[in-house]
Amino acid sequence: MIDNFLKPETVSSATALKKEHGAAACYFGGGTLINNPSNGIDCRTAIDLSRLDLDRIHVEDNGLRIGARVTFQDVIDNPQVPEALKRAAAFLVSRQTRNMATIGGNIAARRTDSYLLPCLTALGARVQTAELGEVPMEDYLSESGPALILDVVIPNTRGRCDVRRFNRQFAGPAVMSAAMNMVMEDGKVIAAALAMGGVSPGAIRLSKIERQIMDGTLSTPEGIAQAVAQEVSPAADLLGSIDFKKHIGGILAADCFRTCFLEEA
């Protein structure tokens, strides 16, 4: 149980408190993950982020800056947020939880069934942290340290982004998820980003397949489904076997491709 709830006024004092209290301390946003006993998070000292002005969404020259404490529901309600990210946030079907869970918390948790990470990765989001500065999402996810997330920056992008998530049920855990962002010019794909969830903690970027899409080696949904199924290595669990998950991953990626391709074309 949290027995020490600290409310720093500045980012530097927040990181200083983290340094002071070490592993027993955790940054505390909406609390939906830390307070949920099923996650088994041992946090004695909470460093609350509510006074750090991290709950704003604003447009900057190079993109959209979303504060780490912005809730899923605020993401959905904000007209500036890309539609794909709104749809990803709505994958969390409980409005009660959407009013509490934050974008920063979802990124920091690096969950295999993350609601937002495939989409943010495909959108080329960058993460502004107190310790690392602004880094690409993939770099943040590859870091193991508990960096304090301040903002997420969605770069201005052209093209079309689509997100897909396969649940057996409305409120059930994701079997697999996928997000693709694609830019086309003159009928040719000039940029493609494909990220998958459900494979390993966080989200993975399928760079090889992205290149094959751009160079035209992969140009059909069926081809992409097959390639993705071969490329990803999810683990078998209650949600399904490896073969099933690979198959579903391929279908989701193919559907994203179909949507992006058709709309961009």
Binding site: M1, I2, D3, N4, F5, G31, T32, N35, N36, P37, S38, A46, D48, Q73, A90, V93, S94, R95, Q96, T97, N99, M100, F166, R168, Q169, F170, A171, G172, P173, L238, G240, S241, D243, F244, H247, I248, I251
Partner: protein, 959 residues
């Protein structure tokens, strides 16, 4: 830490640990409606509150987070004893049933209507997406929101929320406000947990980590030394009494094979020790201090493993019989191990524990072999079902305390009198020392027909003299309550070329798990609620129930019928395919009809010889005709804008019973009060289904007065008369008939009193609305009669009394139609249309009956498509939470979901009423299987029908 916040507009300051859970904090501050049904994982929404005007889960908040903020609970929605527009709409739409989450629903819909004054279907799904409702499904919430929206503009707005029936009657067959609805939706104290007094002790259970083991040694000395620990109970100091947890009529057709604590544990989660302590923290610390040495045994989890030669014996116990012991009993008992304890059969049910057989039964009519010999086509199939859970919103809960020398049990139970009997037996005390008060039940569905925690808590109070509270966690719900029996059901059908059945054989093999509660009756019901749907001269069945080390099984709405129905109805569809017949035509050719004599019932008694019955009412004609029209049977429209979506349709027929004729009994008394109003004292156990409302309605109808002249107390062993309880679909038929007959008895007494007062013969007098006796010479109000009876020279207060028993059967029927889309790329099955046409005789509470059907159907859709308890190889549950287990939420509803009540007038039911709830769980599995076959040509014979199974059957991924 000192925190200050506004609670329902009132500034509050308290000292608290910063990490204290806000749901618990608010409950401790008297906000009882902020409940916990998901171990604070934020799934089920029972803990919904408004934080600064936005709905959140209090269970996912800690105290420090509400400092300086505004918290609103359901108490903020209404003033005094009134209801808000949203709350009254919820009650009137019929969705306030077991109602554990009704206050949360009221908050969520209020929030919705504040944001979106005229919400659409998707908005409503979004608003309620975080709310788990098990009782009434979710469909009627759309009606409730519509009604609430109107009432916000016009508080007096009223509309018809369901079909109405019996225009010849004032109350019966009409939607009326549920009598306990306002109390429940406004979040007043109603459930067991609301009765816990400050200073009460807490009971916590140490559970087995092993599926099968002897307790070699147990040391509780360190636990007992912890300050605040009052009592530790183990197999070494508990009562040496064997019993069954099944709340069934005594003598029970279940073996007495469990002790409060045994030296042997038979499933992961089995009881090892109970700690009673001053606080939960102390109790949990004491559990950690108990040292146990186990001798781990090989475990068995499947029917095949239980059947295997030299299989480990789950009960290598000493067997005995209260009556009818077999001649070879001594031989059977050779080699039993005293550490296994005893198995005591009240009477023989063909159980052979030393072969892992808890019970078995065979029977039939005609000559099955001749039937198969006469057949042109013989079809043989096998169907399997997985273990699924009742998952009531309210976890199992009990609170016990002493009142002088009497033990008071506040229980969330379906069977108050069986509970009292079993506790008395276990504690070795007389029943007059025990009072069971059935509180409102936040969902039972069968799992609260068993005595699963009450006797331990009662013993703790009896030993310590202290009030003790015991509430399961959600994980304990999964591993230590009761579930639907996994079954393997073989079906063999013989038929002529024209489809006429010549022979029907069912072989039911059931897995009862560690104990034999309901081990005869549930598996037998797979036959007895399936076979009588068809007419054939030659029926035969064999039922065998095996012990194993899976989690406990027991009663679950449908009580074996869903498994049997899945097998037999699907097999009939497979037979139709083999015969190149339309399935609908095959049903029509062979189905039961009004007026036929069901000889098969002769061999389908529940632990006794059965009685053949004539079908006095059967709504299948109308149900099938209407359902066929509604769904456009045979003319399915393809959804497909893509070629990988395939559409299919199906139809099945279903039945259940109305209580257990010859076994059940219900009693009711109705007393006239001083002002001419009435008090009903019913033994019936209202589980939220509206049984109390039904009894009040029947009494009002009979006594020719408004329902608000009648109040009711039910399910209290001190103040109300005996009733066997709410199971086997008995409420309407037995408890309802008891109320009817008590009202008729009181009516006779009222007329007799009036006869004297008016000096007119009885035959000239009638009761008339609104509560008068009309004679030729004048009239008397009920108040005048009551006053006269209670005067110094009066005849005394009058009470109508009734006992209802019967040998007559009132069988409900139904037809379920379904249309699915199957995605051949992903294996997903989407239910586009589900229409349940239900004959429940006269629907006495039509809107509540519809809710019961919606809820029952959705539960069974859940079992068919998503729900399953997964275990590892050692028997540990891998998904003991609602989300991973897979309960349906509002977004899982069929796109078009309709319930149509088909009225028949049953001669035995009260005002023609029959049961309605259980039957609705019997259709989904077979009708979805049949529709999937129609869509893509595969037969799914193992539930749940996962996308992966579909893809494998379609050859889309390797098998």
């Amino acid at each position: 830490m000192k925190i200050s916040f506004k609670l329902n507009g009132v500034p509050r300051s308290i000292d608290t640990e910063p990490g204290r859970n806000v749901q618990q904090l608010l409950q401790s501050m008297g906000q009882v409606s902020v409940r916990n049904s998901d171990d604070h994982t934020g799934f089920s929404g029972s803990d919904t509150v408004l934080l600064d005007g936005r709905i959140v889960s209090a269970g996912l908040l800690i105290a420090a987070q509400i400092d300086g903020r505004s918290v609103q609970t359901v108490a903020s929605l209404s003033q005094g004893n009134g209801m808000s527009a949203v709350q009254s709409a919820l009650v009137d739409a019929g969705v306030v049933q077991s109602a554990y989450n009704a206050p949360a629903a009221a908050l969520a819909i209020t929030d919705l209507l504040n944001r979106i004054p005229d919400p659409g279907r998707e908005d409503i799904i979004d608003a309620l997406g975080g709310l788990y409702i098990r009782d009434s499904g979710y469909e009627q919430y759309f009606t409730a929101v519509k009604l609430a929206r109107q009432r916000l503009g016009d508080p007096e707005y009223s509309t018809r929320v369901s079909d109405e029936f019996r225009p010849d009657l004032r109350e019966v067959g009409k939607a009326r406000r549920k009598v306990d609805g306002p109390k429940l939706v406004t979040g007043q104290k109603a459930f067991v947990e609301d009765r816990v007094e400050p200073g009460s002790c807490v009971l916590k259970m140490l559970r087995s980590p092993h599926a099968h083991a002897y307790i070699h040694a147990i040391d509780v000395s360190a636990a007992e030394q912890i300050p605040g620990v009052l009592l530790v109970i183990t197999h070494e100091n508990c009562p040496d009494v064997y019993y069954t947890s099944a709340g069934q009529g005594a003598p029970e057709p279940s073996p007495h094979d469990r002790r409060m604590f045994g030296q042997k544990v038979r499933h992961v989660g089995d009881r090892v020790a109970a700690v009673v302590a001053e606080t939960e923290e102390i109790a949990l610390a004491a559990l950690d201090a108990i040292k146990v040495e186990y001798e781990v045994l090989p475990a068995i989890f499947t029917i095949d493993a239980a059947q295997a030669e030299n299989a480990p014996l789950v009960h290598n116990s000493r067997i005995s019989f209260m009556s009818g012991a077999p001649d070879d009993l001594d031989e059977q008992n050779q080699g039993c191990d005293p550490r296994d304890g005893q198995v005591i059969y009240p009477f023989p049910i063909h159980g052979y524990p030393h072969r892992n057989i808890a019970a078995s039964v065979s029977g039939g009519i005609g000559d099955i072999q001749t039937g198969f010999d006469e057949a042109d086509v013989v079809l043989e199939r096998s169907y399997t079902t997985k273990q699924v859970h009742c998952t009531p919103c309210e976890n199992h809960t009990v609170y016990t305390k002493m009142d002088g020398d009497r033990l008071i049990i506040h229980a969330s139970t379906q069977v108050p009198w069986h509970l009292r009997r079993i506790v008395a037996k276990v504690l070795g005390i007389r029943e007059n020392r025990i009072r069971v008060i059935k509180e409102r039940v936040g969902g039972g569905y069968g799992s609260k027909q068993d005595i699963l925690l009450e006797e331990v808590c009662a013993y703790a109070t009896w030993k310590t003299g202290r009030p003790v509270f015991f509430q399961y966690t959600r994980e304990e719900e999964f591993i230590a309550t009761s579930t639907r029996h996994p079954m393997r059901v073989g079906v063999k059908l013989g038929a002529k070329k024209d489809g006429q059945l010549t022979a029907v054989y069912m072989k039911v093999e059931a897995n009862t798990g560690p104990y034999g509660n309901h081990s005869l009756t549930v598996p037998m019901n797979a036959c007895s609620k399936s076979l009588p749907l068809f007419l054939c001269d030659n029926f035969s069945f064999d039922v065998t129930t095996y012990y194993s080390n899976i989690f406990p099984t027991g009663a679950y709405q449908g009580y074996g019928a869903p498994q049997g129905s899945f097998a037999l109805q699907t097999a009939m569809a497979e037979l139709a395919q083999t015969l190149h017949m339309d399935h609908f035509d095959l049903i029509e050719k062979n189905r039961v009809r009004q007026g036929v004599m069901l000889e098969i019932l002769r061999c389908l008694g529940e632990g006794r010889e059965g009685v053949p019955a004539r079908v006095e009412s059967c709504g299948l004609d109308e149900a099938l005709t209407l359902g066929r029209e509604m769904i456009g049977y045979g003319t399915k429209e393809e959804s497909g804008d893509t070629d990988h979506i395939k559409t299919g349709q199906g139809v099945v027929i279903v039945q259940q019973g109305s209580g257990l004729p010859g076994l059940d009994q219900a009693n009711a008394n109705i007393t006239m009060l001083s002002d001419g109003t009435f008090m009903v004292y019913s033994g019936g156990a209202d589980l939220g289904t509206g049984l109390d409302t039904l009894c009040v309605k029947i009494a009002a109808e009979t006594l020719c007065c408004d329902m608000d002249l009648i109040a009711i107390i039910s399910g209290d062993t001190d103040t109300t008369p005996f009733d066997t309880g709410a199971y086997a679909s008995s409420g309407t038929y037995f408890s309802g008939n008891a109320a009817l007959k008590a009202a008729q008895d009181l009516k006779r007494q009222i007329l007799e009193a009036a006869s004297g007062m008016l000096d007119e013969p009885l035959e000239r007098l009638t009761l008339a609305y609104p509560g008068i006796v009309q004679g030729e010479s004048g009239q008397l109000s009920y108040q005048e009669i009551a006053h006269a009876l209670e005067r110094g020279d009066g005849g005394g207060q009058i009470t109508g009394r009734a006992t209802y028993t019967t040998e007559d059967a009132a069988i409900p029927y139904g037809a379920h139609f379904c249309q699915v889309d199957v995605d051949t790329r992903t294996g997903e099955i989407k239910i586009k249309k589900y229409y349940a046409l239900q004959d429940c005789g006269t629907p006495i509470n039509p809107e509540l009956a519809e809710g019961q059907v919606y809820g029952g159907v959705l539960k069974s859709i859940g079992h068919t498509l998503w729900e399953q308890m997964h275990t590892d190889q050692e028997g540990h549950c891998l998904n003991p939470d609602l989300r991973d287990y897979g309960v349906p939420m509002i977004g899982d509803l069929p796109e078009s979901f309709k319930v149509k009540l088909v009225q028949t007038d049953d001669p035995f039911g009260p005002y023609g009423g029959k049961s309605v709830a259980e039957i609705s769980t019997n259709g989904a599995a077979p009708v979805i299987a049949i529709a999937v076959h129609d869509a893509v040509g595969i037969w799914l014979r193992d539930w749940p029908f996962t996308p992966e199974k579909v893809l494998r059957a379609l050859g889309k991924i390797e098998t």
